[in-house]
């Protein structure tokens, strides 16, 4: 009996996953399909031109954009804080976007399993553009290129952070944008 429940649990879980990801996939330029069933999610992968819109939305939301990768330990450590922030401040028109800088060879082996295992609720988009010398200054003139790095912006304000956050620090920064 236990196993049956577990089985259904897994089914439900994977169905939810599929739905969520598919729903966010409508505008992707390249969609990578996975062959394994347990990693049956697709990634939205862009070069910097495709990513730029996520850094420049002009609507009434406040966006918290985090640059991360599964191989970056401090990024993985702070990811739950971004998830929590997105959840807690959803009602205040805040959206968290996670821009992964994982290597293409790790999309299937590391990134997809990570998204599923951690049940990431924030939108994940993947940036694959080797010419970082060109695009890094377009994110922020002062960014040296180290990750983790975070951009918070809305219509009135824009601030870039080349640092790690804990939840309190992140919340404090976000509140500067919500008044």
């Amino acid at each position: 009996m236990k196993y049956i429940i577990l089985f259904f649990g897994i089914c439900l879980f994977s169905c939810n996953q599929d739905k969520k990801v598919v729903a966010t996939e409508t505008n992707s330029t390249i969609v990578e399909e996975s062959t394994q069933k347990e990693t049956a999610i697709s990634l939205e992968i862009h070069d910097f031109n495709g990513i730029e819109k996520y850094l420049n939305f002009k609507d009434d939301k406040t966006y918290v954009v985090n640059f991360w990768a599964t191989w970056c330990a401090p990024c993985v450590k702070e990811l739950p804080y971004f998830e929590k922030l997105g959840e807690v401040y959803k009602s205040e028109n805040v959206e968290v976007i996670l821009i992964s800088l994982d290597f293409p060879k790790h999309y299937d082996s590391k990134l997809k399993p990570f998204i599923i295992d951690k049940n990431l609720q924030s939108k994940v988009v993947v940036l694959n553009d080797v010419d970082s010398n060109t695009w890094i200054p377009k994110v922020d003139e002062n960014w040296s290129g180290a990750i983790p790095a975070t951009l918070i912006y809305n219509n009135g304000k824009r601030q870039f952070y080349e640092q790690s956050f804990n939840y309190e620090e992140l919340e404090t920064e976000l509140k500067h944008f919500l008044n």
Binding site: A73, P74, V130, S132, W143, G145, A146, I147
Partner: protein
């Protein structure tokens, strides 16, 4: 009471230190004179820039074992040393991470990695993490090309090794090679500062 005083003194030092690090994180600009250092190499010997009497300059690379970007560049760093050490610009690699946070970057791990990859350049431990903030290194890999001048070791180039971390064979711009070639040829360096993604230095 004595304990309290000690705690207070320690706190003060810690505060001052954190400020110092923060202020210095801007680090060197092109034209600044880079500090020399005495850091332990993987063979146990201490290494300073001043040991290299015949060098014309240096390719100082802040790098480590554990960052995938640094790993992606290992062979290219070795190739730089092979190409430029004899021409007067040896590679000096410095591992800046706190090894309590990243045990995979400790001295034994550095020795093992250097042996496995056949590094021919010094691979130094920034023990106490005093050197990287002075340079203004923020990530691995992070390169500083220095030229020996009468004033000291002048910073001539800061940034990335090249413009393709994923594929060495698809590189369009070899930033460091271009910089060192220019210095060797007595020419102006066209791109003195570049940027690349890297792993933040672990403190």
């Amino acid at each position: 009471m004595k304990t309290l005083k000690t705690v207070f003194a320690l706190l003060l030092v810690a505060t001052l230190f954190s400020f110092t690090v923060k202020n210095d994180s801007g680090g060197y600009e092109i034209g600044d004179i880079a500090t020399d250092f005495s850091l332990e190499n993987i063979d146990g010997k201490m290494v300073s820039l001043s040991d290299f009497k015949t060098a014309k300059g240096f390719i100082v690379v802040f790098t480590c074992n554990t960052c995938p970007y640094a790993v992606a560049y290992e062979d290219r760093i070795e190739a730089l040393n092979k190409k430029y050490a004899d021409k007067g610009y040896p590679v000096i690699a410095i591992m800046p991470n706190n090894t309590d946070v990243k045990p995979g970057d400790n001295m034994e791990a550095m020795q093992a990695r250097a042996k496995a990859k056949g590094f021919t350049f010094p691979y130094l431990m920034d023990k106490g993490q005093k050197v990287y903030p002075q340079y203004g290194a923020t990530k691995t890999p992070h390169v500083f090309v220095l030229q020996k001048t009468k004033k000291g070791n002048e910073v001539k180039y800061i940034g990335a090794i090249d413009d393709n971390y994923q594929d060495a064979s698809a590189v369009n711009q070899k930033y460091v090679e271009n910089a060192v070639d220019a210095l060797l040829g007595g020419k102006e360096i066209t791109e003195t500062k570049t940027r690349a993604i890297g792993c933040s230095i672990k403190v």
